[in-house]
């Protein structure tokens, strides 16, 4: 999946003032790359990820998904892309608290209309791959934060996403667990050829990334 942006800008209006969270960003995300976007809090990392993940609409500029202008897509088409081609990993995991690990991973497959059997088999396999084979029936509150983030990664992979967008995936984790999660994302990138786009402060993420961008005041800069 190729994602390209041209002159991407997102302005928020707060009262009478305007905040430019993403400012004229043009860049391209190649397939199967591990991309890190580094910047301080409030620099526009999350807003940029929401834009390229089709969770938000730009004020100006365009996003192209496989050379197709995303602004021409209907809400339903954008949702379908998010469901089947893009996986999300959030800093705060965003697992549904009433569902078990297994059910959280099954959810995107259920929404995609996969059979119960297929959902169950794949969810078990994905959770085993992230070393949570013994935590299938546990609810999020019964898991450690590292385990919750691994469930979140398994959920992002449920529909064989081509791109995983991870917003500060190690932000809530201790250094040891953070290292495990980065290793997991790196494995996914290398073994499955899944594109990983990570917004982070974490130096360890930067070390494994193929491409590094920095962002400051909404302006994106290629570092390598």
């Amino acid at each position: 999946m190729n994602i390209k942006t041209t002159g991407l800008t997102r302005i928020f209006r707060v009262g009478s003032s305007e905040i430019t969270a993403v400012n004229n960003v043009s860049f391209e995300i190649d397939e199967a790359k591990f991309i890190a976007i580094v910047g301080p809090s409030g620099s526009g990392k999350s807003t940029l990820l929401n834009l390229i993940g089709l969770n938000d609409y730009p004020t100006h500029g365009k996003i192209f998904i496989d050379k197709k202008d995303a602004s021409l897509l209907s809400g339903r088409e954008r949702r379908r892309i998010r469901l089947s081609r893009i996986g999300f990993v959030f800093q705060t995991f965003n697992l549904l608290p009433t569902l078990t690990s297994l059910e959280n991973v099954e959810l995107p497959m259920s929404l995609a209309g996969k059979s119960q059997k297929e959902q169950r088999e794949k969810a078990v396999r994905l959770l085993e791959n992230v070393s949570l084979g013994d935590r299938l029936r546990h609810r999020p509150k019964e898991l450690s934060i590292g385990e919750m983030q691994r469930v979140s990664i398994a959920r992002a992979l449920a529909n064989d996403s081509e791109v995983i967008i991870a917003d500060e995936p190690t932000g809530e984790l201790d250094s040891k667990t953070a290292k495990e999660v980065i290793g997991l994302l790196f494995d996914v990138n290398r073994k499955r050829q899944t594109t990983i786009v990570v917004a982070t402060h974490d130096e360890k993420v930067v070390e494994v990334a193929d491409t590094l961008y920095t962002i400051s005041d909404g302006k994106l800069k290629l570092e390598n």
């Binding site: 809090s41 969770n55 892309i81 469901l83 999300f88 965003n94 929404l111 959920r155 917003d167």
Partner: protein, 362 residues
């Protein structure tokens, strides 16, 4: 709960009035002029001479027979909203005018001509309330009488009645040769309306009511009760709807991150919408079940409070107090109201966007 309690209580009044309509079908009821009448049964203390019954039989053309009756409702022990019981006096040999084919419970017997001055027949509720059986002694206004039998009926009127011969009841209550209602059976070929008109022309100061006239008199009363009930129920349902909407909105607000996550992972709006509607529907279902249980208990407490009848006696007849169709109606209504109340929260949930939620959080 309130809907059930109000519904059950008013339904009981309505069912008693409607049941009264089943008595004296095809017959004319004569009452003193100016008397308030509910389906032929006089309310108040007006009376007329018993001799009018003979006069009607002998002087008015087209009368098959005329049965005088004394209908006394006893408010003792109640709060004067619903009578505790009714004492009805009918001349010996004419009891079938009121009780029809209703049987007696095993062990009882119908009073004979000789014993009818000292024996009464009681309804099943009166029997339960005062622990009376065939052969029991009963004291009415200081007079000692014996229970000859217990009517085997679920009729709201008969089950709460004490039926006695006319003469002793006149003596007991001081109605010397007086009655308050005469039931007239027209001859086969005579029209009810025509005969009623003839009776009113020939007998002074009486009102002769046909079936239709009795129904017309009761209709506004039933209509008023039903309108009030409907009004109260509507207000309660609107209040429930506001309450469910508020609770569901708070619930959606607390779970905004979950709904936004569902949107982020590509869940269709309809999925989120249905999810919240289902939740509010279930809230209505369980709330409805809890309300029916609590409302039925409240209806029993109200009935017991107004009639002085012990609560324990109502429980075997819980479905008489809160009929199954009322329970079903309430359940369907609460689920429907909750689903309607869930529409706005469901739309709010379906519109949650991850970008907005995360921006609001950080």
């Amino acid at each position: 709960m309130s809907v059930v309690a109000i519904g059950a209580t008013t339904l009981r009044y309505i069912s008693i009035i409607k049941e009264m309509h089943t008595y004296f079908n095809g017959k004319i009821v004569i009452v003193p002029k100016g008397t308030i009448v509910i389906e032929g049964f006089p309310i108040g203390r007006s009376n007329l001479p018993e001799s009018i019954a003979d006069q009607v039989e002998q002087e008015v053309e087209g009368v098959e027979n005329a049965v005088p009756m004394l209908f006394i409702y006893n408010l003792e022990g109640s709060l004067e909203a619903l009578p505790t019981n009714f004492t009805i006096g009918i001349p010996y040999g004419n009891w079938s005018v009121l009780v029809g084919p209703t049987p007696l419970k095993p062990g009882g017997h119908w009073p004979s001509a000789d014993s009818s001055k000292n024996e009464v027949i009681v309804g099943s509720s009166v029997s339960d309330q005062y622990d009376l059986n065939a052969g029991s002694k009963i004291k009415i206004e200081g007079h000692d009488l014996a229970v000859a039998g217990v009517l085997d009926t679920s009729s709201a009127l008969l089950s709460r009645s004490i039926i006695i011969s006319l003469e002793p009841i006149q003596e007991i209550y001081g109605y010397n040769m007086l009655v308050n209602l005469i039931v007239v059976e027209p001859m086969k070929e005579v029209g009810e309306e025509e005969l009623a008109h003839r009776i009113e022309e020939e007998i002074q100061n009486v009102k002769a009511l046909t079936d239709e006239e009795r129904t017309d008199l009761a209709r506004p009363l039933i209509s008023n009760i039903e309108t009030w009930t409907l009004g109260i129920r509507t207000v309660l349902f609107v209040l429930s709807m506001i309450f469910v909407t508020t609770v569901a909105m708070m619930n959606v607000s607390e779970r905004r991150r979950d709904f936004a996550t569902l949107d982020a992972i590509g869940a269709p709006k309809s999925f989120v919408f249905k999810m919240v509607i289902t939740e509010t529907g279930l809230m209505g279902l369980f709330g409805g079940i809890a309300g029916i249980l609590a409302g039925s208990v409240a209806a029993i407490l109200i009935a017991s409070f107004y009639t002085g009848i012990p609560i324990s006696l109502f429980f075997p007849g819980i479905f008489d107090i809160t009929p199954p169709f009322l329970m079903l109606e309430i359940l369907v209504s609460t689920v429907t109201v909750s689903c309607i109340a869930g529409v706005i929260p469901s739309i709010a949930a379906a519109r949650m966007r991850i970008a907005e939620v995360l921006r609001a959080e950080y």
